[in-house]
């Protein structure tokens, strides 16, 4: 009840329903938008099994499950090894080039997995330039690892996804403070013992969280496995829909994929336990372990080769390809594609940020059971793979269309068929559901930094709710809003499977264009949109790098929190 915006009128009992339950209505509506696709997907099991499903389960299901498990285990081992290892090197050790690799190793986050996938295939496949060159030098018998293989898919995904583990673990190591490690040494542990018994267990929540993010991305991935012809649930869903035109089979596959996601989430919760990332108060700068001699250069070599493989190589190769085709492809059609992408992406970003803003304010003003459950549901969408989400949204809109048509017929009119199903509305809803959590994070933490007393001070100085929003909240939230906007913008731009399945005719995006070109093996022509995506993707990554360069943000802004003169603050 001690809310700042809800107590509007002078007297309490005369307030309208909307005044009293406005926040509940808003959060529950958003939660419903997110929950509806999920519920509809699972409700598919209530209907009788059909022939196609039986066929699927007899033929491909075992393969799908096996492939997915292999992929998950492979990616998990890979990201753990690379992510934790590199985080340890850059956060706790010193070697030549450490300062550069410290942030450069985060850059591969800007490369969409499917882009690295097609670059790798284009260069390293049998017909690619490298193997052709090798054959011409050493003859036909030269051995080269088969790139179009399980190992190839896993390698590509690991190279793209390890930054999640790297970033979170690195900041966990950095915020542990010298004190705990020194305490471990005093208590009799050697440097390695200190690392394995203290630093690593303390970083466990961060490691688990990063790994779980990487595994979620793996489960959701469509572009990479499609390029490699590696069958997983996402490709099966796509084939069931576009190959067999069977929405029900697709939705049943989607629900199975969701089970995997749910298991991953539960495992994360279990492994993380009650531990959260927490910092010890002291921020004494870590005294890094100085590597010397061959070890130092080995560390540099490891970091450099990884950075080269995951970032320099794809970017250079794409630039090379793009240069070959730029004169032909950079035409009005490409600009129209770019324009469409930007329009769609901006619409989605604004919509999503508005939704997130509403959620964040609802949580702040009415932190009761209804709102906290609603907020939790509304931010679940990030866990839904794009292809699953597309099926759910399709089912939702089919339901709405059927309902409207039924109403229409009730009044004696002829049915009008598809109304909303194939429109931009469906696509926008999918983006909203998927990225609401992405936008909610920075806005919510930005709002959390505005101490309640700031708002109360404004009100005690005579500011009514609207003025409070304009003069206090929005200016203070600006950095958080910008972050949210940027993150959603880039994520929507990179999103492939949902866009692929839901886009109305003529609404191609850069990601769809890349898919079309790569599925025909025209690597060079996919390069231009791909390099555009990477450049766009670098924006939020640079932003994140700058943020993590400063020390980790504290949950409550102290009155003396550093901020530059314009009042801007890195969230």
């Amino acid at each position: 009840m001690t809310t700042e915006l809800s107590v509007n009128a002078g007297t309490l009992p005369r307030r309208s329903l909307f005044h009293r339950h406005g926040w509940h209505i808003a959060t529950m509506a958003l939660a419903a938008i997110v929950a509806m696709p999920l519920l509809l997907i699972f409700s598919g099991w209530l209907q009788a099994e059909n022939e196609v499903w039986r066929h699927l389960s007899e033929t491909v299901l075992a393969d799908l499950v096996g492939n997915t498990l292999v992929l998950l285990v492979g990616v998990m081992l890979g990201v753990l090894l690379l992510g934790v290892g590199l985080a340890w090197l850059t956060a706790l050790c010193d070697f030549p080039g450490r300062c550069f690799f410290d942030w450069a190793l985060m850059l591969p986050l800007a490369v969409p997995a499917y882009v690295l996938a097609f670059v790798a295939l284009g260069v390293l496949d049998y017909a690619g330039p490298l193997q052709t060159q090798l054959r011409s030098l050493f003859g036909d018998g030269v051995w080269f690892p088969q790139i179009r293989s399980t190992g190839g898919v896993i390698s590509v995904l690991v190279l793209v996804l390890y930054p999640y583990v790297y970033m979170l673990t690195r900041s966990a190591f950095l915020t542990q403070g010298q004190g705990t490690l020194e305490a471990a040494r005093i208590l009799g542990l050697g440097p390695w013992g200190g690392f394995f018994k203290v630093a690593l267990p303390m970083a466990r929540p961060a490691i688990v969280a990063g790994t779980s993010l990487a595994l979620m991305e793996t489960l959701a991935d469509f572009g990479t496995v499609a390029v490699f012809n590696y069958d997983t649930f996402t490709t099966a869903i796509y084939k069931a829909w576009f190959g067999l035109f069977n929405l029900q089979a697709a939705s049943q596959l989607a629900s199975l994929l969701l089970l995997f996601v749910a298991l991953a989430l539960i495992a994360e919760g279990r492994l993380r336990g009650r531990a959260r990332y927490h910092e010890t108060g002291c921020r004494s700068p870590q005294q890094r372990h100085h590597l010397v001699g061959i070890r130092a250069w080995l560390a540099t070599l490891a970091a450099a080769s990884l950075f080269g493989l995951a970032f320099v190589f794809p970017v250079l190769q794409l630039l090379l390809w793009a240069w070959e085709v730029v004169r032909n492809d950079l035409d009005s059609r490409y600009l129209a594609l770019l324009w469409h992408t930007l329009l769609l992406v901006s619409l989605a970003a604004v919509l999503t940020v508005c939704g997130a803003l509403l959620l964040a304010f609802a949580k702040r003003y009415r932190d009761d059971a209804v709102n906290s459950v609603a907020v939790r549901i509304a931010t679940l969408g990030y866990a839904m793979p794009g292809s699953v989400l597309a099926i759910g949204v399709m089912l939702t809109f089919t339901g709405i269309d059927n309902f409207i048509n039924a109403l229409w017929r009730l009044f004696g009119n002829a049915a009008s068929g598809q109304l909303l199903g194939g429109t931009v509305a469906a696509l926008l809803m999918a983006y909203l559901v998927r990225f609401l959590a992405v936008a909610f994070g920075p806005i919510d933490s930005g709002l959390g930094r505005i101490r309640p007393s700031i708002a109360e001070a404004a009100r005690s100085l005579g500011a009514a709710p609207r003025e409070l929003l304009q003069r206090v909240y929005l200016p203070l939230l600006r950095p958080g809003l910008l972050t949210a906007l940027l993150l959603v913008l880039v994520d929507v731009m990179k999103e492939m499977p949902a866009t692929q399945l839901l886009r109305p005719f003529g609404w191609d995006t850069l990601a769809v264009r890349i898919y079309e070109m790569t599925s025909e093996g025209e690597w060079e022509r996919a390069a231009l949109p791909a390099i555009t995506l990477i450049l766009a993707g670098l924006l939020p990554v640079i932003y994140l790098v700058r943020r993590s360069g400063h020390d980790a943000p504290s949950p409550q802004a102290s009155p003396r929190e550093p901020m530059n003169k314009s009042g801007r603050r890195w969230v």
Binding site: V7, L12, P13, R451, S460
Partner: protein, 384 residues
């Protein structure tokens, strides 16, 4: 005058309920004293506040005149901050009423929003707007005024709080004490009739705290602004408050001047909370004297209890003097050297202990037996 108007206020408010029409005498009193009752700047009657199932403020009444500096003092968790937030309009009240200048602003079904109450508030964490310069912070509450006028007022207030030339700075560039001054200037800018201060000095170090408390008092007095502030620090309350309300368990236990709280505590809790001292067991010999382990003590007033009543006697550290001639012997349990004085903890024959503040010229050691005498001007006795 205060007691008189309080009595009137009591009549005026008690009859406002069910017997309004039935009792013509009360109606008459109400009509004739309405003008006096309206004089209160702040008028709280039988206020209750609740968080979920916990009652935090339990039937609190409080009356303040314009220009008064008052203080709510109490241990943490006694509900004093809740009272302040209820007055400001951030905390709804369950029953009772709050009136500002005679206007009802809070009751069980009325809650005028904070921005419409015309109060000023200084927050514990200052709550300066981090995105605004110091001058713009001060000017925040001045709406409907030209930029020039706002700048003029901000400059004047900066001068008042002794921070000229800081107008272009940002809050994070200021020290804690400077932020405190700006918070005060910002709250004073719209010329509120009543200023509320929530633990205003708790974030500052001790030395700064005392200096600022004196400064703030002088500033408020020079502006003639009434202020109600909340603290758990009695020294702060003694410096700032002309009237101090000692709060305990959601109620004001005593509303009085600092000196009366110290020497005439109305109840055991106040005696215990204010100042140092110990309650020792005693027995009334007659209306004017009491038998204690420290001998029979003459009382400076008559108590109405029967002879032989078991009582507790409040002894402040300066009530007990060390005297070589005395045949009442005590063993020293502990000594704390304080510079000019030394505070001794003394064991009595019955196991109780008392405090004695003695000049540090003469030093005694722990374990030593000394003679003591009671030298009390004001002796406070509570029936056991």
């Amino acid at each position: 005058m205060r007691g008189f108007s309080r009595a009137i206020a009591k009549i005026y408010h008690n009859e406002a309920g069910h017997n309004e029409r039935k009792n013509p005498v009360h109606n008459l009193i109400r009509a004739s004293f309405r003008g006096i009752a309206m004089e209160f700047l702040l008028d709280i009657n039988d206020m209750h506040c609740r968080f979920d199932d916990t009652t935090v403020v339990d039937g609190l009444s409080l009356h303040m005149q314009p220009g008064c500096l008052a203080c709510l003092l109490g241990p943490s968790g006694c509900g004093k901050t809740t009272v302040l937030r209820a007055i400001a309009g951030f905390q709804p009240i369950v029953s009772g009423e709050i009136k500002l200048n005679g206007r009802l602003v809070s009751s069980h079904n009325v809650q005028v929003p904070p921005e419409k109450r015309g109060l000023g508030m200084v927050f514990q964490d200052y709550a300066l707007f981090p995105h605004l310069s110091v001058a713009n912070n001060i000017g925040f509450g001045l709406r409907g005024k030209s930029v020039k006028e706002r700048t003029r007022i901000a400059d004047k207030l900066l001068e008042l709080v002794g921070m000229e030339s800081h107008g272009k700075r940002y809050p994070h560039e200021l020290s804690g004490g400077q932020q405190q001054r700006i918070a005060l200037a910002r709250a004073l800018a719209p010329k509120p009739g009543l200023l509320l201060l929530d633990e205003p000095f708790s974030n500052l170090d001790v030395e700064l705290r005392e200096r600022l408390a004196t400064d703030v008092r002088a500033i408020l007095k020079s502006q003639g602004t009434a202020a109600l502030f909340v603290t758990h620090d009695q020294h702060e309350a003694f410096v700032m408050g002309e009237r101090i309300g000692v709060m305990h368990q959601g109620r004001i236990r005593q509303w009085d001047t600092a000196i009366n709280l110290y020497y005439e505590p109305a109840e055991r809790f106040v005696a215990d909370f204010i100042g140092q001292g110990r309650l020792i067991e005693g027995r009334m010999v007659n209306a004017n004297s009491v038998q204690t382990p420290l001998g029979t003590i003459e009382v400076n007033r008559a108590y109405p209890w029967r002879d032989g009543t078991a009582v507790d006697v409040l002894l402040r550290p300066n009530d007990i003097v060390i005297s070589r001639e005395s045949n009442i012997r005590c063993r020293i349990l502990d000594r704390a050297f304080k510079g000019a004085d030394t505070l001794y903890t003394l064991a009595l024959a019955n196991g109780d202990d008392v405090l004695s503040l003695a000049s540090s010229h003469q030093d005694y050691s722990v374990g030593q037996e000394i003679g003591v005498a009671v030298n009390a001007e004001h002796l406070i006795i509570f029936q056991r």
